[in-house]
């Protein structure tokens, strides 16, 4: 494996890890403050127990997210020094604001975690709100920096030099809004379904029904609402990509031939040699409509782009299929949840709980797949149409060892955190523990 591939794999691996912690750390505070509010309003001790349990989850995920984020902030420079040398000043604004938002989150979390019975009740609850809001703000800012890589703006590129830098314009790059919206909704969907899944499994196992049903309802409400809203955001993203990154769109759909009234492919196996997709389902003219709002619009195929700007088509295509497939599934199940609020008898059926328990990890699978679509789909560029990833990689040889080290470390961490969370859940069902 050459240095570039090792560096890319390390980046992918650390991001895949970090993103889970960042999303949970960003969304779970909202569940926590809802439970907390219910405790303040009803004084039902079950809500207090739930709040304190979720707060531990938030603390664990926040710290692991923070340290893996610290590692990433260094890795950007360690792995892609040439990129950071030029892009650093341009996208400095989202990153410095993100730093500030993250700091606010850490301070508010300090108040929240240690403030029980020490600071006024309402202020204490409010610090929890700040944790959630600043978490979402830092997520949006980081995604804006990523948006800039897809839609570089706020500078002039003259003779290989970045001049006339405008950091504000770079922050508000054309991709920031669609990407940030899509990511935020994805974070809520994934975390909502994951947390609801854990509690659904406990209900399925008939443990502490009262507590877990209350927990389930809070988490799934967030997850289901986000899942139902997500297609709107997905549509905005698709139209955006069709306009700005047509190669990425073509790769997502494994669309090789330029066509008017192009069909939408569902599934299918990509044959890169023959440039054909087999075993697919075609919906006539749907791609043209989704990309341009016109059933007869022309969608440019991969064959009309030079080969050296193609991303890895199978990876992007499969990842996109996984994301959309799971997204649709979660939307339907989200609707099912709202129906269950009317058809209360469903809550007595074990199958209902098994369904949600099984779906627990799927939101995160879709979220990771979505990141693969946008990141692998951007290749071979690190800055779209400006700088190639291979020109940005560190000149230091031997990146493969660094990759192995990170893989080992993060592999162990994943196992350890999973184990720790299982113990948290176990303690929740333990009658003698608080």
């Amino acid at each position: 494996m050459d240095n570039l591939d090792a560096a890319r794999l390390q980046m992918a691996f650390t991001l895949i890890f970090h993103i889970v912690f960042a999303c949970v750390g960003m969304v779970m505070p909202f569940f926590m403050i809802v439970a907390h509010k219910k405790w303040l309003n009803t004084k039902d001790p079950v809500y207090l127990k739930l709040t304190k349990s979720w707060q531990k989850g938030v603390a664990i995920f926040f710290v692991v997210g923070a340290v893996s984020g610290t590692a990433l902030s260094f890795e950007l420079g360690l792995l892609w020094p040439e990129f950071m040398k030029h892009a650093g000043p341009i996208i400095g604004m989202p990153f410095s604001l993100e730093g500030a938002a993250f700091f606010v989150e850490a301070i508010a979390l300090g108040f929240y975690l240690y403030g029980w019975d020490k600071i006024p009740e309402k202020f204490h609850w409010f610090t929890g709100v700040i944790v959630g809001v600043s978490g979402v703000a830092s997520g949006i800012l980081v995604v804006s920096a990523n948006g800039w890589m897809n839609a570089p703006s706020g500078f002039d590129y003259i003779n290989g030099e970045f001049v006339n830098i405008d950091p504000v314009q770079a922050l508000l790059n054309p991709a920031w809004f669609t990407q940030a919206l899509h990511m935020t909704l994805a974070a809520f969907t994934a975390t909502g379904f994951a947390v609801a899944g854990i509690h659904a499994y406990q209900i399925y196992k008939r443990r502490h029904l009262d507590l877990h049903k209350k927990a389930f309802k809070i988490a799934i409400t967030f997850g289901a609402v986000a899942a139902i809203l997500q297609p709107i955001s997905g549509d905005l993203s698709a139209k955006d990509i069709a306009e700005r990154q047509p190669v990425k769109l073509a790769a997502m759909e494994a669309h090789y031939e330029t066509k008017k009234g192009a069909p939408l492919l569902i599934g299918g196996i990509v044959n890169e040699e023959t440039r054909e997709v087999t075993h697919k389902i075609e919906i006539p003219k749907a791609l043209s409509f989704l990309a341009f709002g016109d059933f007869d619009a022309e969608v440019k195929g991969l064959n009309d782009f030079p080969e050296d700007v193609h991303p890895n088509v199978p990876i992007v295509h499969y990842a996109f299929q996984i994301m959309v497939g799971i997204g649709t599934l979660l939307l339907l199940v989200g609707l099912l949840f709202f129906i269950s609020l009317i058809k209360k008898s469903w809550w007595e059926k074990r199958k209902f709980w098994l369904l949600f328990a099984l779906l627990g990890p799927f939101g995160f699978i879709a979220l990771e797949a979505g990141w693969i679509v946008t990141e692998v789909g951007r290749q071979p560029w690190i800055i779209h149409n400006i700088m190639r990833t291979k020109d940005a990689v560190t000149p230091m040889p031997g990146m493969i060892y660094s990759f192995y080290m990170y893989m080992g470390l993060y592999g162990i961490l994943t196992i350890a955190v999973t184990w720790l969370m299982m113990r948290q859940i176990k303690s929740l069902n333990h009658p003698y523990l608080k």
Binding site: A66, S73, G77, G92, K118, M396, V417
Partner: protein, 339 residues
């Protein structure tokens, strides 16, 4: 505006060294304690640091962001040529953060605590050593900064600059400094019966700081490391270090009289003086390599970027600093009067 950015850069560096340094040091104190005192240190540390733990470690992110936004060429040299020690620092930071949450948030306090504790203690020692080593390499005069990578071998470019006597000694010096800060902090937080434990630790740590500091200077002088010879020649920097040394005497007095705030303030001033002396020696040149020197100010971004960065920092600071102060005050980490 550039000076505002420089101020925030130095301010974050100082706060990271003092706040995170004391936290690293507490882990080192724990590592070198008897079993009974290890648990005592763990509890005390958690009580004092718990609420601000996350915030303390964010200063390094602020530091890195200021460097890459404001001084990209400077940061570029660090990330290319000091890749290995920085990666080791990250490894330490990650292990340490994870061990910290694990040992305090695990729902069951059983044998797994032993593992978390050792992870925490060992990474507490390793992280500041590599951080110090990285800083040592910046001024060791051994860093080869080049574009023609074929002219040198891997060891010359990526290992030798940090894996050398001087850099590692600076690493040890920084670890000793952290231990010193932590023991002063812990003295103020411990009960009357336990104070002697940390007073002894503080004495040993002070001896280590002075001893290793002296060795660093002798070693640098003997090997004619430019930074060290200039450091000794400059009356201002030498004066700063000597003043820092003299402050040991009032510090001892304030510890004897159990003056918590005074002793912490003195320790803080001592570390600030050392840091200021080191930065001032060649400022704005902060990297003294084998063949080139890197001037921080000359590597600054275009004016417009610096202006936006300065404004972001001012706004961020206006939100963060009062919040942080209020947090520390609420949990009685700051007391206005000695008690």
């Amino acid at each position: 505006m550039l000076y505002i950015v420089l101020f925030f850069l130095m301010f974050s560096l100082l706060l990271y060294v003092i706040l995170a340094g004391a936290d690293f040091g507490a882990g080192i104190v724990e590592l070198f304690s008897t079993k009974k005192n290890q648990q005592l240190t763990k509890k005390t540390l958690y009580r004092v640091m718990g609420p601000v733990w996350e915030a303390n470690h964010i200063w390094i992110i602020i530091l890195v962001v200021i460097l890459w936004v404001g001084f990209p060429k400077f940061y570029n040299v660090l990330s290319v040529f000091l890749h290995i020690p920085l990666t080791l620092v990250l490894l330490g930071i990650t292990m340490r953060g994870v061990a910290f949450v694990f040992r305090h948030y695990d729902a069951f306090k059983d044998k797994s605590q032993i593992l978390y504790d050792w992870m925490f203690r060992i990474s507490s020692l390793i992280t500041p050593i590599f951080l110090g080593t990285t800083v040592g390499s910046m001024i060791s005069g051994q860093l080869i900064i080049t574009e023609s990578f074929e002219d040198y071998n891997f060891v010359e470019l990526f290992v030798q600059p940090w894996f050398n006597g001087f850099s590692i000694l600076v690493g040890l010096f920084f670890a000793a400094l952290c231990t010193f800060l932590a023991s002063i902090l812990l003295i103020g937080e411990s009960h009357a019966n336990d104070r002697h434990v940390y007073v002894t630790k503080a004495e040993k740590a002070t001896a280590a700081v002075v001893g290793i500091g002296f060795i660093v200077i002798c070693y640098g002088f003997y090997h004619e490391i430019t930074f060290v010879t200039d450091f000794i020649k400059n009356p201002l920097t030498l004066g700063g270090v000597i003043l820092s040394f003299i402050l040991i005497f009032p510090l001892v007095q304030s510890i004897k009289k159990a003056k918590k705030v005074t002793s912490r303030a003195l320790a803080g001033i001592q570390v600030t003086l050392i840091l200021a002396a080191a930065v001032m020696t060649h400022f704005p040149i902060l990297i003294i390599g084998y063949n080139t020197q890197i001037n921080l100010i000359e590597s600054a971004s275009p004016e417009k970027v610096i202006n936006v960065l300065a404004i972001s920092l001012i706004i961020g600071g206006a939100v963060i600093l009062p919040g942080l102060f209020h947090l520390m005050k609420s949990f009685k980490m700051i007391k206005v009067l000695d008690d």
